[in-house]
Symmetry: D2
Subunit: 324 residues, 4 copies
């Protein structure tokens, strides 16, 4: 697999069109397909994933979901607001009206589906009005939600062999890549080589940049939407060619920010989601898992990362569990 040549920074539209053409999976799994790269994740891969459970230790790869998150309201993305319908204070005070000493607490949440740890669905991004598999965007996602590739269609599938690529540790300074660092295919392959766990068809990749560790230490700042390390646009062919089932990062936006064109917004998304049909996870927390992997030298695990099946969602929160 060769690295894509770095494209003309003044021509994002041309570069995107060329990459889309090279990497397109349209029609690969039939006209009705709603799974995209999850088609690569088969039963054998799940057995391989389960075989990675050697010690029985589990890690949640989710950030918390609360009002103290990184969102600042861009395009109405607030942090989750969690409120109580009933509380222990009321229960203890005896104002709830239940019999025989029963008391209860109950709650509700309002949250953008991509406010915290999440999977992008295949209806999240379009290229010139085209959605995954060549459908028209307006036929797929209306104000009623994604009527074709809603995240619920992926609900049962996302469990298999996970591999952590700790690029921050392998290449970065103090375990962290700086903002604006574009992770190249060479970086990914160097990390794989250094860690010793192969990556291939149907795997779920977890790419740690260290960006979250820095936000945790220094405060959110512009974690949500600002500068960040991330995947280079030039990795599109590698992401397509490896036939991975999905990929997640510890950053807000998966790809490097600022983007690598003069005027651009998330160009790698524009290739990966509508053309490759790739499942992309964002805002995952790999830090505890990474420490464990560095300690025992084992970078693979069983990953269960089923998104909350909100019907018609174009992205969904998830609490991914890695078991080693």
């Amino acid at each position: 697999m060769t690295e894509t040549t770095r494209p003309d920074p003044g021509d994002p539209e041309g570069a995107i069109a060329a990459a889309a053409k090279r990497c397109s999976n349209w029609g690969r799994w039939g006209a009705d397909d709603v799974l995209g790269t999850l088609n690569f994740l088969d039963e054998a891969k799940r057995r391989a994933g389960a075989a990675c459970v050697r010690r029985g230790v589990s890690f949640s790869l989710a950030q918390t979901f609360d009002a103290n998150g990184p969102q600042k309201g861009w395009r109405r993305r607030t942090n989750p607001v969690h409120t109580m319908l009933d509380t222990g204070a009321d229960a203890e005070r005896g104002t709830q009206g239940f019999p025989h000493g029963l008391g209860g607490a109950d709650d509700v949440v309002f949250m953008p589906l991509q406010a915290s740890t999440q999977w992008d669905g295949l209806g999240h991004i379009f290229d010139h009005g085209a959605a995954w598999n060549g459908r028209r965007a307006g036929d797929v996602v209306t104000s009623e939600g994604d009527r074709v590739t809603g995240i619920e269609t992926a609900a049962a599938h996302i469990t298999g062999r996970g591999v952590l690529l700790d690029v921050g540790r392998a290449i970065g300074d103090g375990g962290e890549l700086p903002d604006g660092y574009a992770i190249t295919t060479a970086d990914l392959e160097a990390t794989i080589a250094a860690q010793g766990s192969p990556v291939g068809r149907g795997d779920l990749l977890c790419v740690r940049t260290g960006r979250l560790a820095r936000a945790r230490r220094e405060g959110w700042g512009d974690y949500a939407g600002g500068d960040s390390p991330g995947l280079s646009f030039t990795t599109a062919d590698w992401l397509h060619g490896t036939e991975i089932a999905g990929i997640a990062t510890d950053t807000w936006g998966f790809e490097v920010r600022p983007n690598e064109f003069d005027v651009a917004f998330q160009p790698l998304h524009q290739v990966c989601i509508p053309h490759i049909g790739l499942f992309i996870g964002e805002m995952w927390d790999f830090d505890a898992l990474a420490a464990d992997c560095a300690a025992d030298g084992v970078w693979e695990f069983f990953l269960s990362a089923a998104p909350l099946p909100v019907t018609g969602a174009v992205g969904a929160p998830v609490n991914p569990l890695a078991v080693k």
Copy 2:
């Protein structure tokens, strides 16, 4: 393990107090414990769970999360409301303002945390103002949420060996128990014996009554809050004695409705959550899994059921994955 004698239907308060005393786990894992019966789910059990992955087939045990659910607004529990922040229709029409042909869809949800498939947290139910481990309810759950046993404390733990007890199939008529049927300890043990998979310390039990299958066929009706089959109050000692890590049902409320006392509301919850520290799942969907288990005769699986870690939540949605 002996079955609890059916108590005096006129004295729920006495029966609850007696069962609470017999089954209390207060202090068992120290004064600071926030995990309750999840303490039973250890690394060996996770290895045993992973060993259940023989074919690599996965099942989501979640109902969908949408406006067509069973909630009717009782105590402000509505169905989830999912709305779009951006749509494909707008993207295709070109009104979004992104460069180089990029279009996007994004969304938001408002939902009671127990509107659909969920885990009850340990802060969900109190007994006479006491929460799990003997804490005062008002110290634990305020209008800021559960400050001690919020569901995020369980986030990394709930993955291990799952066992489906299809009581509906073993005992019911046409695979379904009727409303008001109280599942007894004898029923549970008969189902275990019939299926051949032992149940023990640290397991995650999935009890299928068939109630959801009926709702799916006949319409929701009073699925959320009305009459239902479910666990008998008399199973409290068995639930305590087996040292299971958690238990989930395909019903709204886990225990039989109407409750088995003249005037009562969820008395088994009042023993299980604050006194046993038991994790209870509700509104799970076992039907596809059950069909598969009946077909291959294997009722155990690797279960990953990590709740969405909404900070301070007293219950949380989950998309449980069973892998066989």
Copy 3:
């Protein structure tokens, strides 16, 4: 003003097109107009309204906004869900962390903007893809909201002379019209004549059918969306010709249900909002005001009914105040 002939029940599309042509106000106030019939409500009319304040008694014409409302989730319209961010129970218990004995309560609401008493905005209804004043619907209302005629554009305008037409009392049995009763132009004029208060240019009309009184007595039932008395499709020309500024009813949907065509959904809306530019209020509560008007024989009042200026809203809640 003549009554429109009752149209062919098998041809709603033809009837709507004909009425739209007869009643169109497109271009009447220029190409940039966002106010529609509010243009009729001028300063003289506000002075006339203020002159109606004779006793100084005020009435709220709003229903309450809470979980006990009539909504059943049709097209995701739930009842308002009001939750607390801080409570008095917590304040009294001293867990809030404020200094010198201060305690506070705070709250949040999630609600469809047309869940209870509201004004329809001019972006609420379209005819064959056309919005008020001939704009294209997709240029006006995207997933970002109504970018042209958002309800905030009407915020300062809706105060003037109100007139209650108690058609339920004038024509109905026991003060209430039955479901399916189509209020005709003749009914409106008979009520005006019986009450003795003229109706004209710039007035805000309040049409009481008695439907809410029945719901209050018998339970909501299908108040929201079901059968109801309401304006006949044939009143379109009268609504246009009187040059009223707005009209509100005590029903969910303003016009009679079932609609007067074989297959139809709110055909009068389709004429009134995009073509006449008429402001329509729904789910108002006229009962206390009506009793007062019947008692003193005065049916006019100063009405202040400014919608909550949610930016870009296509409808908005309002607490209308009538002062006599």
Copy 4:
């Protein structure tokens, strides 16, 4: 009426207790009272208000309600999030499923009730666990809302004579008071004298500081919760003695920030709401009205400011209309 002596900055608790004792209205309108100072607003005052309508011009005193507001998430107060249930883009595209060319748009909002222009209800603030009229805070406001003095109890009352006190213009530099400026009784009386409109029993006071004008010019910054001009703690006796029905400002928090004690949080609220029973409005927009009043020299008007009657709310949004 004499100005309160500036209290010891090191003793907020003592100062609050003393002011509360001097200004208490507990029991003044009976044990069951829920209206507080709205009792001062009688029918004669409403007639006097209506008599202020001389030209028929109306002003909305509301800020907009949208995602671009000043809230930053403090205590979970976000800006309003408005989303669409149906859009014009979908209507124009023909995907909605309505008959005969009908299209519709519909929407929903999630918002803290005090996110923008609002009235504080009498259940908003407590003093050492006591609510208005001496009730226990936990008896009044539970997680179900304010069960006694919910804002709906005020719904029909808040309309009468309004007077704008443009303290920013009368005393400030360029029409604006600086942050931290504590408006004294002398300042209020000087403004009244300069403007020439008397203030008395039952009036609704609108105090303009110019803080909003500065935020509009410079950006929100810390408008919500940060430093601000506002009423001095020492005005408590004046607010009590004038027997006004309510008072609103163009600031987030009504009183001066930083507060005038070494360690304090909103001490004037702690006197005004639970002890005086005073209705306080915040985040109102007086700028257009103030310009008009300065131009014609008339500072009084008819004010209709009925809060949205969200059942049990401790504060509520409002679109106040001033008609001159």
